[in-house]
């Protein structure tokens, strides 16, 4: 980019020179004295080779199965029998330690502990505990690495999601996928390098917004492209009615001539970007329909992901599409599945949510594995925070709810560079505080980037007078989850 800019500045026509010269030379001289950094480049920016891994990557692509709304760690992967023993008893103050609560339970008079209504058992050689809600995930625990000591700074959905996706709670920063696209570039220049798939479960849902897949201050080509479930998976990609592919080709050829001419005269690099983006869209027209076509799936595939995978817009269909996108070289596929916000009716909602995601999540891992892709693809499954060990609202024999809990939660990662069959980190018997190997969101980001062959401290972008990174000023690599 800098090179192009220099080229652009040097590309001076006679007219531009004459109009600029009068004021130009004097102000240039003054500028040299006053704004040295701006004119001659900022010296403190380490030059990082963009579009290429800094060191040998362990994973080439990421699929992030975001469980939006925050599934309870206590009903999924963090088994706490003590809560069943102390069911209904008050949460000891020594455990809560005055931690802030959300407005939804802060004024509750009592904080009765509540044990999982679902049974837990150990699975695989790793002996990982998995609840009865996830029989399919339980069958592949030896491929997975559970991090039970995740913790975050935010206590409400929007800031927590934004924090997880961009490394900051406030928004406007680039999403993880955008950073990866910026750092590693595209593997397949016929597809965007960052795509987004949305689905909604039957549980209590929380919204997702385009700021979660924004490019922030990075170049707009790093923005996440949403594949929707309708007739046009990628908006405006198909030719408008009455135009065939040949006439589109002819039009693009003509347009390219005009654009090339205007690049000759003006030299603005954005013109070349535009030409390239038109060409990419043209090639996407043949790449995308093949990916989104669900009519040719084999029986084995349908059973692997579950019959929902044929219904566009479901979690299962998105998992299948994620595999296809990733297989065809999309660096970062971001799924969001809504409906995990179990403030009340946890027993009912969790079961429905788990039914929707269990088979397809495990199916995705198995599918990547049988194609030899699991070694080079990193898969993440998890939400934005955990849920409280005490009951929100009325605790009765049949049902209960859990509020937001940022101090600990569980997610799993699998695939490229991850140590399979591990359980990392530990929470106390109450499932409230972390007692061993805490992993912050920044640490998690640093580790992901490391596995992709990027030093998180060096992947920076200068904006508003300072350098930014995904991990901001924090983040330590977690060696314990790396193979």
């Amino acid at each position: 980019m800098e090179q192009q800019e220099k080229k652009f500045r040097l590309n001076v026509t006679r007219r531009r020179f004459l109009t600029g010269a009068g004021l130009g030379i004097g102000s240039a001289a003054l500028g040299t004295l006053l704004f040295k950094d701006q004119l001659f480049g900022a010296h403190d920016v380490q030059s990082l080779p963009l579009g290429i891994a800094q060191f040998a990557p362990k994973a080439k692509r990421i699929i992030y199965l975001f469980q939006n709304g925050a599934p309870s760690q206590l009903e999924t992967f963090d088994y706490k029998p003590l809560l069943n023993k102390m069911h209904g008893e008050e949460l000891p103050a020594s455990i809560r330690m005055g931690q802030r609560l959300t407005g939804m339970t802060a004024y509750q008079e009592k904080f009765p502990l509540v044990g999982s209504t679902f049974e837990f058992s150990q699975h695989g050689q790793s002996g990982a505990w998995v609840s009865e809600l996830f029989p399919h995930m339980a069958s592949i625990v030896d491929e997975l690495c559970f991090i039970r000591s995740m913790n975050t700074e935010a206590i409400n959905h929007d800031p927590a999601l934004t924090f997880f996706q961009t490394g900051a709670q406030q928004g406007n920063r680039p999403s993880m996928g955008a950073w990866v696209s910026y750092g590693l570039g595209s593997e397949n220049s016929n597809m965007p390098s960052f795509t987004v798939l949305l689905s909604r479960g039957r549980g209590n849902g929380q919204g997702v917004y385009s700021k979660l897949w924004t490019n922030g201050f990075l170049d707009s080509i790093h923005q996440g492209v949403v594949f929707s479930s309708g007739e046009d998976p990628v908006l405006y990609l198909n030719n408008p009615p009455g135009h065939d592919r040949q006439s589109r080709r002819d039009m693009l050829d003509q347009l390219e001539q005009f654009n090339a001419e205007s690049f000759e005269t003006i030299g603005d690099p954005e013109i070349n970007n535009r030409i390239q983006q038109y060409e990419m869209s043209y090639r996407m027209q043949s790449a995308v329909p093949e990916l989104t076509d669900l009519t040719k799936e084999s029986d084995a595939t349908i059973k692997l992901y579950g019959p929902d995978c044929l219904v566009p817009g479901t979690y299962a269909a998105n998992c299948l599409l994620a595999r296809k996108l990733s297989e065809s070289g999309v660096r970062f596929v971001q799924l969001y599945h809504q409906g995990w916000d179990t403030h009340g009716n946890l027993a009912g909602d969790m079961r429905m949510q788990a039914e929707d995601v269990d088979r397809a999540s495990a199916g995705l891992i198995k599918d990547l594995k049988q194609r030899g892709l699991l070694d080079e693809t990193l898969v993440i499954w998890g939400g934005e925070f955990g849920r409280t060990n005490y009951c929100q609202g009325k605790l009765d024999a049949q049902n209960y709810g859990r509020d937001h809990h940022p101090k600990c939660f569980t997610l799993w990662v699998a695939g490229g560079g991850i140590r399979p069959g591990t359980v990392y980190g530990e929470t106390d018997e109450f499932g409230y505080n972390i007692v061993k190997d805490p992993v912050s969101v920044h640490d998690f980001h640093a580790t992901l980037l490391h596995l992709m062959g990027i030093d998180h401290e060096q992947l920076t972008y200068r904006h508003l007078g300072r350098r930014y990174r995904l991990t901001d000023v924090a983040g330590n690599i977690v060696p314990g989850i790396i193979a």
């Binding site: 403190d44 090639r283 070289g329 594995k369």
Partner: protein, 715 residues
């Protein structure tokens, strides 16, 4: 005397005066003028050196008058500029960052230079000496000039700058948190060595500080000791690092590599523990963060060594960029290896020559991915020419592997993926004698019995067979869906199309509200012709599958057109967007999303008047209302329809009392069909009365319920 030379004398006198008086302190504005020294100093050097060839030319030339004139001017300017340089140098030196002895020599040497330049001017212009003598003096001047500039160079760049060897070649001590090593040696010195000693060493003591040894660190420099024994955290060593970047005293100076957070953490911890040169790591508690941070850094420094080192050279970068196109991508594995990965995209553009053209980078390819490309065994002949190939992906190609034995020449090929190909067991047997360690064979022609035998023959190879469905597992079909589920208000001639995504699945449906199954209900064959309100309940069934759950959709035909609507009672202030249009805008709402598609009432009932465009015959009125018990939204307790020619002449023509829920139930939009006295009405009034006291089973027992209506139809 020439005016320029007079100026030179004046400046020189100023310099001499300054040196003798040594005024302190100097105003800070003047200090920045000292920054001109590095710019100015090159001018007299260049001019004097330029004079060397010019004066030779002058002496050998016949017509030298013009040249002589020019040379004199140049000499005068060199003298003037060097005295200006000296003045700037004096200002710069007062910043005190430099080695004092070296500085002193440089100062006097340079003043001497200026004076001798002035003498040269005098010699040349007033004494008109013989060329031999002039040449002698001039050569001496050049030698002196070179010595003076070297001194200056040593001041800023260190005295070893001419013999400078890059830092990397010096033995840099690595981080180490071993028990037997001291924190100083294993944690602190590695930081100082990489970030500080380039400017603070015995040869180049910026600020008179040497950070190569503990003793010299403790002694410190111009600002005193780097360590403060009484208040460790106030030590100069730490203070300078945490100053703001733009502060002049910040260290390392801006533009130089800064300390990373973990490095700062180590220095901070070491200093706060007393900055001992001999404390060993084993004296720390095992969980001390100082120890773990150093251990992490030491792990990090060995990490990069883990990277595979390839013996072959890198390919020419222009070769790579020439080969790169949208259908063939060549990506280096990382920035510091020559290894390349090659992938192909868009099968309609694939040809064998795309692969063959990779021969210039044959040596560098370690990862080749042809998945999904329409290619057969012919690619193996090309692939065998890639000697360093490690990983090969042929998924979804037509490769049968009949000539797999040929890849025995790929001595490094360890992983082959042939999932989704016609590969047979005979092909796999040919892998004997190759370096292959892992083969992915999901969805190939290889049967599990055959594989068991081959596995024994090829014990070194791991075969990954992938998922095979369990035939005893019977899954439930997904529910059938009408093609159009977004828009449930349809035109009179519109048909409803049902669809199931699984090829071969059948659909049965009912229109009377009863639940169909694989035997009961109408078998779906063609699009359904709807009535004004059509509720379609459908299930899908197929051999080998469990019947789907029923899907339940209600469609409304557009009824009799309404001219205008009058809300006789305004909706609750929170739910009154677009209030005039909502009831007749042909937009249905969702029961969870109580937005501008709805009118909501709680304190008073809904009461609205409808002026119909014509005066048609009407038999029923349909009120579509939300049912969301959790959000206190209940069916109306009573719906009353009044009709007549105008608002003044009305009578009750229909009434309905909807069934009330007996517990929480799933959310829905329910059409309440109110039969009315058949007749022609110009004006109809609809009143939907909300439940005024929620039942005992509800959390809001005794409170008022909401009524939400999104649409009213007339048929």
């Amino acid at each position: 005397m020439n005016r320029l030379s007079a100026c030179t004398v004046l400046v020189l006198l100023l310099v001499l005066g300054w040196v003798i008086i040594d005024p302190q302190p100097i105003p800070s504005g003047w200090l920045s003028a000292g920054r001109l020294h590095p710019v100015l100093l090159h001018l007299p050097i260049a001019l004097v050196l330029l004079l060397l060839p010019l004066s030779i030319l002058e002496q050998s030339s016949h017509d030298a008058a013009a040249l002589r004139q020019l040379n004199s001017t140049i000499l005068r300017w060199s003298a003037f500029l060097s005295s200006l340089t000296a003045l700037a140098g004096l200002l710069l030196s007062s910043s005190g960052e430099y080695d004092a002895t070296l500085l002193n020599t440089h100062k006097w040497w340079s003043i001497g230079l200026c004076i001798s330049l002035l003498i040269l001017v005098y010699l040349r212009e007033y004494l008109d000496v013989r060329p031999q003598i002039w040449n002698l003096f001039f050569s001496l001047q050049i030698v002196a000039l070179l010595i003076g500039s070297h001194q200056g160079g040593s001041l800023t760049h260190g005295s070893d700058f001419l013999s400078f060897t890059p830092q990397e070649n010096k033995s840099v001590m690595p981080f180490s948190a071993n028990d037997s090593i001291s924190i100083w040696a294993g944690g602190v010195q590695p930081i100082l060595n990489t970030k500080c000693v380039a400017c603070h060493n015995p040869n180049k003591k910026k600020g008179e500080l040497d950070l190569t040894q503990f003793a010299s660190l403790k002694t410190g420099g111009k600002s005193g000791s780097s360590l403060d024994a009484t208040d460790p955290l106030n030590s100069e060593l730490l203070k300078r690092i945490v100053l703001e970047m733009k502060d002049e005293k910040h260290m390392p100076p801006s533009g130089k590599p800064q300390l990373s957070p973990s490095e700062l953490l180590i220095l901070h911890a070491w200093v706060s523990k007393g900055a001992s040169p001999s404390t060993l790591f084993k004296e720390l508690t095992p969980t001390d963060s100082l120890r773990s941070t150093v251990a992490e850094l030491s792990a990090g420094s060995t990490e990069k060594k883990d990277e595979t080192v390839y013996a072959f050279d890198a390919a020419n970068s222009s070769t790579i960029s020439d080969l790169n196109n949208p259908f063939r991508r060549i990506i280096p594995l990382s920035a510091n290896t020559p290894a390349l990965s090659v992938r192909f995209f868009l099968k309609e553009h694939f040809t064998l020559s795309l692969l063959q053209e990779c021969s210039p980078i044959a040596e560098q390819i370690v990862d080749l991915n042809l998945s999904g490309m329409p290619c057969g065994d012919e690619v193996l002949d090309v692939i065998r020419q890639f000697p360093n190939l490690e990983k090969l992906n042929l998924n979804g190609t037509n490769v049968t592997g009949k000539t797999f034995s040929s890849i025995a020449s790929n001595k490094h090929l360890q992983i082959i993926s042939v999932s989704n190909t016609p590969v047979t067991i005979a092909s796999l047997q040919q892998l004997k004698g190759t370096a292959v360690k892992k083969v992915f064979i999901w969805n190939t022609a290889v049967s599990s019995n055959e594989l068991e035998v081959t596995k024994k023959q090829l014990p070194r190879i791991v075969f990954e067979t992938g998922y095979t469905p369990d035939p005893s597992e019977v899954l439930k079909l997904t529910s059938p869906r009408p093609v159009n589920t977004e828009r449930t208000i349809i035109a009179a001639n519109e048909r409803i199309v049902l669809r199931h995504p699984l090829p071969g699945a059948s659909i049965r449906y009912t229109l009377d509200g009863s639940k169909p199954d694989s035997l009961n209900g109408i078998l779906y064959k063609e699009p359904i012709e709807p009535s004004p309100i059509t509720r379609i309940i459908s299930v899908a069934f197929n051999k080998g599958w469990l019947n789907s759950d029923p899907s339940d959709y209600t469609y409304f035909q557009k009824g009799i057109a309404v001219d205008s609507v009058r809300l006789l009672i305004p909706p609750h202030e929170r739910y009154r967007k677009n209030e005039k249009e909502v009831l007749t805008d042909l937009k249905k709402g969702y029961p969870e999303i109580l937005n501008m598609n709805w009118l909501g009432y709680r304190e008073q009932p809904l009461k609205a008047g409808f002026y119909l465009t014509t005066v048609p015959e009407i038999t029923k009125v349909v009120v579509s209302a939300a049912d969301n018990t959790g959000a206190y939204v209940f069916p109306p307790s009573k719906i009353i329809i009044r009709g007549g020619d105008s608002p003044q002449h009305l009578r009750t023509i229909g009434m309905l009392q909807p069934d009330q829920p007996t517990g929480y139930r799933s959310n829905a939009v329910i059409p309440y069909i109110v039969p009315i006295n058949k007749g022609n009405y110009a004006y109809i009034e609809v009143e939907a009365i909300n439940v005024t006291s929620l039942p005992a089973w509800h959390g809001g027992k005794g409170q008022k319920a909401w009524v939400f209506v999104d649409e009213v139809f007339f048929y």
